[in-house]
Amino acid sequence: MAERTIYMDHAATTPVHPKVLEAMLPYFSEKYGNPSSIYSLAQEASKAVDDSRETVANILGCRANEVIFTSGGSESDNTALKGVALACRQWGNHVITSSIEHHAVLHTCQYLENFGFEITYLPVDSYGLVNPSEVEKAITDRTTMVSIMLANNEVGTIEPISEISKVVRAREKRLGRSIVFHTDAVQGAGALDLNVDQLGIDLLSLSSHKFYGPKGVGVLYLRRGTPFMPQQSGGSQERYRRAGTENVPGIVGTATALKLAVEHMKSNNAHCRKLRDRLVTEIPKRIPNVRLNGHPSLSLPNNANFSFEFVEGESILLGLDLVGVAASSGSACTSASLEPSHVLLAMGVPPEIAHGSLRLTVGIYNSAEDIEYVLTVLPGIVERLRALSPLTSSSS
């Protein structure tokens, strides 16, 4: 086993930034009060939550009371979809989403189907892009909600959220009532602008551990006036919209991490893009029969997703792990369901090609040396697997 991990899976999770950890620590054992309690110890914690809320609101360009802290991206997505679809039931039962959403959105939509909701899962093109006019065509007089992700986690494709918003708002006028627009922005935070008015959305999900914050905490932005049924009942926290004692250290960490990510967004993006571009240029030069998945330009700056013919993704990941590189794949063998990536399949990638996919997502701590190392070790791994494979053509 290699000594150091070269971590190339930042879309899966990120390490907590040292400044974030530092900001969080006092709230574990010193300022540990429950923000709902009256005494000074608790009020310190309450203030920390308030300040964090302000910080996040400033970044999103919204009011502080439109920010809800959750247990992460999955909860934010669940709460957004269930909370709005159920509240809007009297106006309709149709929800529009895309076929490449994260499972937290897709499975929640499937769950809603059990309760009489009809879901349209919009197709995407071969780059993974949702077409705003397809959204437009799908809207009926029963549509109450649209949910499209800001950027895709597997291939990095950036969706035209502002354009989709224009289309939704235009149809709202004709319908004479609102259609609520949610975006899963989990992968976009730190790389893309999150201003809720620019994006033109009513709800937005964030997950802290994707932008160098802690796991187990996230954000749900909920525009004032949006019909909403709270999904976690209990105490009065989050103005009765999401019960439960606040995860004070997590919330402080989230605000600190988001602030850092946004402050350094330009330089972080430039850093990641440079490293990613080197992978994208070099890998096809060094390894034959490879294709790039995703859009050449409308893509997250840190995402590189390749498909290698004749081999399978998980075996590539194991080979990489043996030499100290951490990455992920859209192969069926790496998923608990044994289904290949629904994102790649929706993009029209043939199953055998989806099977041989490798996702490399770089981060702020990756260096040029890391990339060169990957470029050195990857060809041999793929070659060895191709030598073992019955699919490799013998005519090369």
Binding site: F310, V311, E312, E314, S315, L318, S331, C333, T334, A336, L338, H355, L385, L388, S389, P390, L391
Partner: protein, 87 residues
């Protein structure tokens, strides 16, 4: 998963595999070849996927089907051999 058997006098003289699949699939087929080289077709017939999994030191539940693939490949190969030698 492809298995190639070289059989003489009902003994598996040599065996090769080709596999496209996850680590467990490659390991299962590779281990299979180690287990059956030099044994009779009769003995090979009795080999189960459990035996392959055990030889590997066990497999996670989600990967047990990879050992099935290996066992199935073996039985298909022996079946193929029987058909060819009969005809």
């Amino acid at each position: 998963m492809r298995l190639y058997l070289k059989i003489k006098d009902d003994t598996i003289e040599d065996v090769r595999f080709q596999t496209v699949g996850c680590g467990a699939a490659i390991a299962a087929s590779s281990m299979l070849t180690v287990m059956i080289k030099g044994i009779s077709t009769g003995e090979a017939e009795k080999l189960t996927n459990q035996a392959v999994a055990e030889a590997l030191g066990g497999l996670p539940p989600t990967k047990m089907h990879c050992s099935m693939l290996a066992a199935d490949a073996l039985h298909n190969a022996l079946e193929d051999y029987r058909k060819r030698s009969a005809g």
